[in-house]
């Protein structure tokens, strides 16, 4: 990365982080809402651990993977809404009048998502462990969980950027949030994939990449080190991120028609 590009990305990243830190409305719901659902699910569904083949006797440990995914989904909304606001206010035009490159712009905008990802992951993990969840992979596993959470958060953040660049409208980006949430509900969120008895739901959840992201977290929480599941989780997150970045770069070209 050249010095100029590094400065550009660094400055935009700084702005993105400042914006995130100065909007408690972005951080607090992304922390509270997933933890609230964790409390409800781990209390209400704990009898599921008595199902034959359930991988752990602690539903809290099983369910602790879900907040990481919910947190990542929040980054769709946060990244996208921030960029949409820049488009609406003309701030993107201000940036377009500088020698800023498209790659620097998109990378810089995702810096806030990285910070949010770290804060979310550390909080969910700390609260989960304090509440009694297990972490089979130990301290090293905690670091990998944070790394996976950041990768996933950034990956979903690129989808928010794409949506913002396509629509140029913050409300349109926010309306996508429930759509993305559906993917969470039609995954192995509540039960392991092989224990889902309803065939259509099993098929849909099996085809849903979110199930494998959840499984990567669970492997560290429940099993210890399962490199195959971890690799699959990271590969899915990176693929979503790469596709999202590619789509966002295309949308940016259309949005920024500067000569």
């Amino acid at each position: 990365m050249s010095g100029g590009l590094r400065t550009q990305v660094g400055q935009l990243a700084r702005r993105s982080v400042l914006r995130t830190m100065r909007q408690p409305g972005q951080i607090v719901p992304a922390l509270i809402f997933p933890l609230f659902l964790l409390a409800v699910n781990s209390g209400g569904l704990k009898d599921a651990t008595s199902l034959p083949g359930f991988p752990t006797d602690s539903y809290l440990t099983f369910a602790l993977a879900v907040p990481f995914m919910q947190g990542a989904l929040f980054s769709v909304m946060n990244s996208g809404t921030d960029l949409a606001r820049d488009i609406e206010t003309g701030f993107l035009n201000r940036l377009a009048l500088t020698p800023l490159g498209g790659a620097a712009l998109l990378s810089g905008l995702l810096a806030g998502a990285i910070v949010l990802g770290v804060v979310q992951a550390a909080t969910y993990l700390a609260v989960g462990l304090i509440a009694g969840a297990e972490l089979a992979a130990g301290a090293g596993g905690a670091l990998v969980i944070v790394a996976l959470a950041v990768t996933t958060t950034v990956a979903f953040g690129t989808l928010g950027l794409f949506a913002a660049l396509r629509t140029g409208n913050g409300e349109a980006v926010q309306s996508l949030f429930p759509v993305f949430f559906v993917f969470l509900f039609i995954s192995s969120m509540a039960l392991p994939l092989d224990l889902i008895q309803t065939q259509w739901f099993h098929d849909v959840a099996g085809a849903n990449p979110v199930s494998y992201l959840l499984q990567a977290y669970r492997s560290l929480l429940i099993e210890g080190w399962n490199l195959g599941e971890l690799a699959l989780g990271f590969a899915i997150a990176v693929t979503i991120g790469a596709l999202g970045m590619w789509a966002a770069a295309g949308a940016l070209k259309t949005r920024l028609v500067r000569t």
């Binding site: 100029g4 400065t7 550009q8 660094g10 400055q11 935009l12 700084r14 702005r15 400042l18 914006r19 100065r22 909007q23 820049d86 206010t89 003309g90 701030f91 035009n93 201000r94 940036l95 377009a96 009048l97 500088t98 020698p99 800023l100 028609v257 500067r258 000569t259």
Partner: protein
């Protein structure tokens, strides 16, 4: 088109057109030339094509047809060079409410590639210049409209551009903020910065611009110095309103020797174009006095840019009465003069 050295080049536009899909021709083949160091006022009502022209000249919108060189660079083929030479404060002050003024300056100077050691000094200098030193560390969300506009101007100047585009920089500002911004723009021109200023305020164009282009429905309908444009319209008019409505005919008769009668006025008075210019005003008063006509109001109208707009387009410019002083420019009013 000439190929002047970038340091000495202004703006040259030939046949510039912008068509939007399923929409009107927002800009319909305009030609204009702005000399280096000149303030060019681009005057027109809302929707005339001013902002579309600015977006094209600042490389943010490709033209449908025509050519333009800004600072010696072609806006289509050399967009990056154009952007390096210009600064722009577009129609809305595009600021981040969550960042402070100083943080905006830091971002802008860094993105324009100023050396790290220079960024802080340049930011402080510009914030001081636009009077925002004290508010520099406050978040922009708490700034007034005038402060936002001044910060916008400072940001546009961060990389020392040779050409500055200001798109309606004073719209919505109070008189004090407007005047402060005018002073700043005039100061920049004195330093050699070429300024392309769009406005819908006649007073702004009149006070600031060396030359004015009037645009309507995407076409330039008049161009010249404000004095030249007003001179085109001709001589001043005097408007007299009788105290008694029944005196209108006698008043018209008394004013007939002074020149051609204009259209009826809104106030029920008689308006006459003074063949002999302003110096005839005293004679007009004497004539009305001699005819023993009581006068409610007597007003001398010097030709204004609104008159120019009216003459060229057949309608008055929107916002014409929306100026700083809330009165028509170039008019001198005398209340209730004349004999009883």
């Amino acid at each position: 088109m000439t190929n002047e050295s970038p340091e000495r080049a202004g703006i040259e536009v030939e046949g510039l057109v912008r068509e939007f899909k399923n929409g009107p021709r927002a800009v319909d083949g305009i030609d204009l030339r702005v000399q280096p160091g000149e303030i060019y006022g681009f005057l027109g009502p809302n929707g005339a094509g001013k902002s579309t022209t600015v977006l094209m000249l600042t490389t943010l919108l490709p033209p449908t047809a025509g050519t333009a060189r800004v600072a010696g660079f072609d806006i289509v083929r050399e967009g990056g060079d154009v952007r390096g030479a210009i600064g722009a404060a577009l129609q809305e002050a595009a600021l981040d409410p969550l960042l402070s003024g100083r943080e905006h300056m830091r971002l802008q100077t860094a993105l324009h590639g100023l050396p790290k050691a220079e960024r802080t000094a340049r930011s402080d200098e510009l914030l001081g210049r636009v009077g925002l030193s004290e508010a520099a560390d406050r978040r922009v969300g708490g700034y007034s409209g005038g402060m936002k506009r001044r910060l916008d101007l400072a940001l546009a100047l961060a990389h020392r551009p040779r050409i500055l585009f200001l798109d309606e920089p004073t719209t919505g500002l109070d008189i004090q903020s407007r005047t402060a911004l005018w002073d700043e723009v005039a100061g920049l021109a004195k330093e050699g910065v070429t300024v392309f200023l769009t406005t819908q305020y006649l007073e702004e164009a009149d006070a600031l611009a060396d030359r004015v282009g009037i645009i309507d429905h995407g076409s330039i309908v008049a161009e010249g110095t404000p004095a030249e444009l007003k001179a085109e319209i001709g001589r001043p008019t005097v408007e007299a309103v009788p105290r008694e409505a029944g005196d209108q005919e006698r008043m018209a008769e008394a004013l007939r020797p002074f020149g051609e009668r204009c259209d009826p006025t809104r106030r029920g008075g008689i308006s006459v174009r003074l063949e002999g210019g302003e110096s005839q005003l005293a004679d007009v008063v004497r004539a009305l006095d001699a005819a023993r006509i009581a006068v409610e109001q007597l007003q001398l109208h010097a030709p204004s840019l609104d008159d120019v707009f009216l003459a060229k387009t057949g309608r008055s410019l929107e916002g014409a009465g929306d100026g700083p002083a809330g009165e028509e420019p170039g008019s001198e009013e005398m209340e209730a003069v004349g004999a009883s």
